[in-house]
Structure formats: structure tokens, C-alpha cells
Symmetry: C2
Subunit: 353 residues, 2 copies
């Protein structure tokens, strides 16, 4: 080791996109969704342990860039994530993300990872985890409205965690639906492409909406939704972006991650600020009721909360141990004498010259 080689303390494990894909294919998507959901459930069940704050958003006319920090006192995590609906027109992702986990005791990062793919996984794992508490008994059919980047993950999560056997697909773009049909061909799911939202919802006990327009859209109207269904609403996740007609919300028992955030970003931004909602963690700990009866309409108004990313970061930190699916990132300056930052820079120059 020469003097310019970084010390071990300075190296942060980094999971690149390529390594995340290797990890997923190594573990298997459905196994990973199940394992992720366990980490997410653990953290929901110790809700009070977390330092919670609504995400820090920087809005522009074309999108949003957000930082989502949280801590349980031992570890600190945050995610950087953007949302730019117009990006797909230019061949870019609507949502990209990366995240970091750090040690609270020292402030040193212990993991940096891509989170574009990981976010799709954690969102699907959270949806299906909520589904385990909220879907009607023996729900086997799910309508998947919106067949974008997250839809396969949603379908597989409900398959793995909730016993869904059939997914009925609709998208305003048939090419998106065809893509999902192709991608799920070997999944064990019965996959039915549909020509309308109504057709997709035929016989479905679970309705997942995941569309991308940043606008008050009405993907589901009131008369499309009968009793005894569970709605998993993914797409309404920022101010001005909703998918459901308000009348549906008034008929539904509404479950949310973190009310302070969901009232700003979720479907319930359309409702009065004191409209009753139930917090998901309370359902998981048994402090609140989930589904009341077979006829109820339950709605998981998902916006994605920082603790879910924290759980996902914990999971990846644990899961890469002993593997070669990460690389050391020379991110932290760590001189032998912590007070001698300048000397470290100067000596590096001496050896370079």
C-alpha cells in the first residue's frame, strides 16, 4: 500500500446498477421481494424508533428532486430520487434514485447503492405487504392499470406475498402492456392483456393503479369500483398528481404510510385535512383494524416513505456481505492523522510529480 492508497475506513461499499441486477438475479426476484417485505415490516413495527420527517422536495415546472432521510438512532439513511414524467419522451427514466446508509455513531457512510431498481422492488414489497393485511380473503385476481416500469414488480410481489394468480393488464399504450405480457411469460402468473380499465377490473379483487402523468387524472371513476375490493394506488404521489375520483375515497377505508406526507402527496390531498385515515404501522402492530369485512373497499394510498428505503438499504447492506456484488468507493478522505487533511493532499501531490 502506497501513501496515496485510501485506507479501509475511507472506502464505502458501492452497489452499482450492474451489481444490483446481479444480486437480484442471484437471489431471485420473488425471494428478494419476500425478504425485503420482512425488513420493511420489521421497521413499520418499530415505528416510534424512527426520526421521521416529510421528504425535502425541490420542485420545478417539469419535475421534482427529493431527499428522503430517516434514522433509527443506530443507522441513518437517505434516498435521492427524482420524478420527471416528461423524461420518457427523451429516452430517460421518469424516476431514478440512489441511496446511502451511514453509521450514526461516526457519521461515516457504510453503503452507497443504486436505488432506481431497488425502489421499484421496495415499492412493490410494501404494496404487497399492505395487501397481506387489507386484501379480501382468497383474492386471486389483480387488475394492473398502468404498465410502466414498476408494473412487473407489483405483479410479482402480489404473486409472492398475497397469492395472486392472475393479473389483468391495461395501459393507454398497448406496447407497454405487450412488454409486461412478455416479461411475465415465465412467471407462473396468468397474464391477461385488456382493452379497457373496465375489462381489466372484471373479476379482480385487487386493483393496482400505477400511472405516471403529473396531473389530477381520473384513472378510476366511482362507478368502476364495486364493493369488496382492495385498491393499491401507487401513482398519486406528489402534489397535483392523483389517480382516483374523490367519490371512491369517500367510500373507502384509507390506509397510509405517514399521514403528514400522504396528505400532501397522496390521493387524500383531494380530501379535507382531517379526513380519517389509518396508519399502516398500527395495522401491523394490531393497534388498528385492517379490513373490516368482505364488503369494505380498502385503499392503500401509497406515496413511498423514507423508512421503506431505510429497510431496503439495511437489507442490501446485510445481503451483500460475503459476496462480490459491490465495489469499494474512494468517497471519504481519511488521513492517517485526522487533523492532517492538508498534509495528505500535499503528500499525494509529491508522489504524483
Amino acid at each position: 500500500m502506497t501513501m496515496t492508497d485510501p485506507s479501509q475506513k475511507a472506502l464505502v461499499p458501492f452497489v452499482s446498477v450492474a451489481n444490483m441486477m446481479r444480486l437480484i438475479n442471484h437471489i431471485g426476484v420473488e425471494t428478494m421481494l419476500r425478504e425485503l417485505s420482512e425488513y420493511i415490516e420489521q421497521d413499520f413495527k418499530r415505528w416510534d424508533a424512527f426520526d421521521k420527517t416529510p421528504r425535502v422536495a425541490s420542485h420545478s415546472e417539469v419535475g421534482v428532486i427529493e431527499l428522503m432521510p430517516t434514522s433509527d438512532g443506530q443507522a441513518y439513511g437517505f434516498k435521492y430520487v427524482n420524478g420527471h414524467p416528461g423524461n420518457t419522451r427523451d429516452g430517460l427514466q421518469t424516476v431514478t434514485a440512489f441511496g446511502l446508509l451511514a453509521d450514526v455513531a461516526t457519521g461515516y457512510p457504510v453503503l452507497v447503492t443504486e436505488m432506481t431498481i431497488l425502489t421499484a422492488l421496495r415499492t412493490a414489497a410494501t404494496s404487497a405487504l399492505a395487501g397481506r393485511y387489507l386484501t379480501p380473503q382468497n383474492a386471486r385476481v389483480m387488475a394492473m392499470i398502468g404498465n410502466g416500469a414498476q408494473s412487473e414488480f407489483q405483479c410479482l410481489a402480489f404473486h409472492a406475498l398475497c397469492g395472486v394468480t392472475e393479473v389483468r393488464l391495461f395501459d393507454i399504450d398497448p406496447a407497454a402492456t405487450a412488454k409486461v405480457v412478455r416479461n411475465l411469460a415465465q412467471s407462473g402468473l396468468t397474464v391477461v392483456p385488456c382493452d379497457s380499465p373496465e375489462q381489466a377490473m372484471e373479476g379482480a379483487q385487487i386493483i393496482t393503479t400505477c400511472t405516471a402523468d403529473k396531473a389530477y387524472a381520473t384513472i378510476l371513476t366511482d362507478n368502476m369500483v364495486g364493493s369488496g375490493v382492495h385498491i393499491n394506488a401507487i401513482g398519486g404521489d406528489c402534489p397535483g398528481k392523483t389517480e382516483l375520483a374523490p367519490a371512491i375515497l369517500h367510500r373507502a377505508d384509507i390506509f397510509v404510510e405517514y399521514p403528514e406526507q400522504t396528505r400532501i402527496e397522496g390521493e387524500i390531498q383531494q380530501l379535507a385535512p382531517d379526513h380519517p385515515v389509518t396508519e399502516l404501522w398500527q395495522v401491523m402492530t394490531g393497534q388498528a383494524q385492517g379490513r373490516r369485512n368482505a364488503q369494505a373497499i380498502t385503499l392503500f394510498d401509497s406515496v413511498g416513505f423514507a423508512t421503506e428505503d431505510f429497510s431496503a438499504l439495511r437489507y442490501i447492506r446485510d445481503r451483500i456481505k460475503g459476496t462480490d456484488m459491490y465495489q469499494p468507493l474512494d468517497l471519504l478522505a481519511d488521513p492517517d492523522d485526522p487533523r492532517d487533511l492538508f498534509g495528505m493532499v500535499r503528500r499525494a501531490g509529491g508522489l504524483c510529480e
Copy 2:
């Protein structure tokens, strides 16, 4: 290019610690401090262009982890930074940092860089920039109280930007002082190690305090500070951490970066919330007066603001162009079809198997 190779859009330029040190030694520390100060001044002078918010802090008993975001509408930047005074006991840095710059139009990151070293540079560049507006005419001697990781950068910045020719050093640990003496031996500065703060301040027109204890400390008492000096107070930068006796503050004209943040974190947390202060950007644009006369005591109550990191990120983005002093980081998942995230993962697995 195979299908698992990331596309160009997915690759974010990354400046490691090793490359940052190469860049500094390539440009030269004093040149870099001057160039950095120009970027910082440009951004202070367009203060209204920035989306400003106090940093998002996560405090624990042993330290703090902070995110400092800002945007000018074109670019978005944030810095991750910790402050753990006890870290040096374990051979770790008190402060480590990294940062990111992104394109507001797409939300895609365009730079990830180490910022432990860069923060020391931007802090020193900001101090000396403020000094250009506030120090007494013909100030040539600076007392440097606290000889830790930032002190050499402060000395060189005042040398490069303010014409300081002599620095007088004091630290409670003589080894720290000896380190600075060693590191500045070839700098062109006259370097005088001193046995007390009082001795360090003999004949000094500029007093820089940069100590690290997270406590209400009194590095400078009232009777130590005569008229006609400029105080550059670096170390008081979080709640409960100050360096100056309140009586000094009452005698001084106080200049700050962003009052909303400085009143929480700076020396002025010891004063009434409406105590008059002057914003640095207003001095730079000529809207407010800097030094009133030769007798005034001026105080720059530095806490470090997000725009300064933004300026530093802009500078690094521009400065690495055409060099090999960065590496591509496979941080963003970028499938050929943005909606086909799942297919990208699946195909990567197919090629791996």
C-alpha cells in the same frame, strides 16, 4: 457494447478522494482557492436565484448528519456532511462529506464528488472572500486559533486572496501547531507558533478561530479583542457550539451567510433573535456596507451555507472537463426502453447465467 453495459446516460462522473487530490495538486491550492472564491462570489451575487432552506439535520448525542440542498433552477446540488467531534479519538475525521450536482430539467445527477477536502477549500475560500470586504486595510497578520484539519486552507486562502503574509498559530495541542508549521514551510507565509491565544493575536489584524469542541466554549474573551480587527469565526457552526464571548458580539458588526441558519447554528445563537446582522451577499452587491471604518470590529460568523457547496460543485464540474480526474459511476439504471426496468434486470440475469 453488450446489453449489460450501462448506457452513457446512466454513468455519472465521480471524483474520488484520490482524484480530488490530483486535481488540487494539478491546479495548485492557492489558484484553486482563488478560482473557487470567484464561483462562490458569483453565486452570492445572484442570491435571489437560489431556492434556500436551512440544512436538514439529524442529531444524535455524539454528532450530527446533515443534508444541505439548494438549486438555482438550472442545477440542483446537495452535500452530505457529518460532524462528530469524538471521531478523532478513534482516528476518524470529525467532518466527512460528499456532494452531488444534478440537472433540474431531467433530475439526472451530473456529478458525484468527495467533499471532505472540497469543503475545507470552499470554507477557506468563503472566509477569505468575506475577508476581502471586511478586513482592515493593509491587514498582513492573521492569528490562527485552532490548528486542525482546516487551518492550513484558511491560512493559504487569506494569503492568496487578502494579502496576509504572516500567520501566528495557537492550539491547545502543540502537535497540531507543529503540523501546520511543517505543512506551511514552503508556502511563502511567515509562520509563528505561539504558546497562548494572546501571543498569537499580538499584532494581528485578522483573528481566525477554528476549534472543534461541541460545547459553548470561550476561545476569545472580551478583553482579548481590541478595535480595528476582523474576526473570522469558523468553529461555531451548530446548536450548542460557539467560540466567542457574547460581549465581543455586542461590540462587533456581524456579517452572516443566511440569517435563518446562522441564528440557529452560529455565534449569534447567543444573541437575541432580532440582533442586527448584515447579509454577506448584500455587501458583495453593494446594497449594504462592509467595514465602516478602521476602528470597527467586524465578525464573519461563518457556518457554511448550501450555496457555497453548490458553487464548489459547479466549479468541480467545469474543472474536470477534458481531464482524466474522474471516473464513470454506474449509478443510474437506464434501460433502452425507460418503461422496461424489469426486462433490463431479467436480461442481465440471462447473460450472467
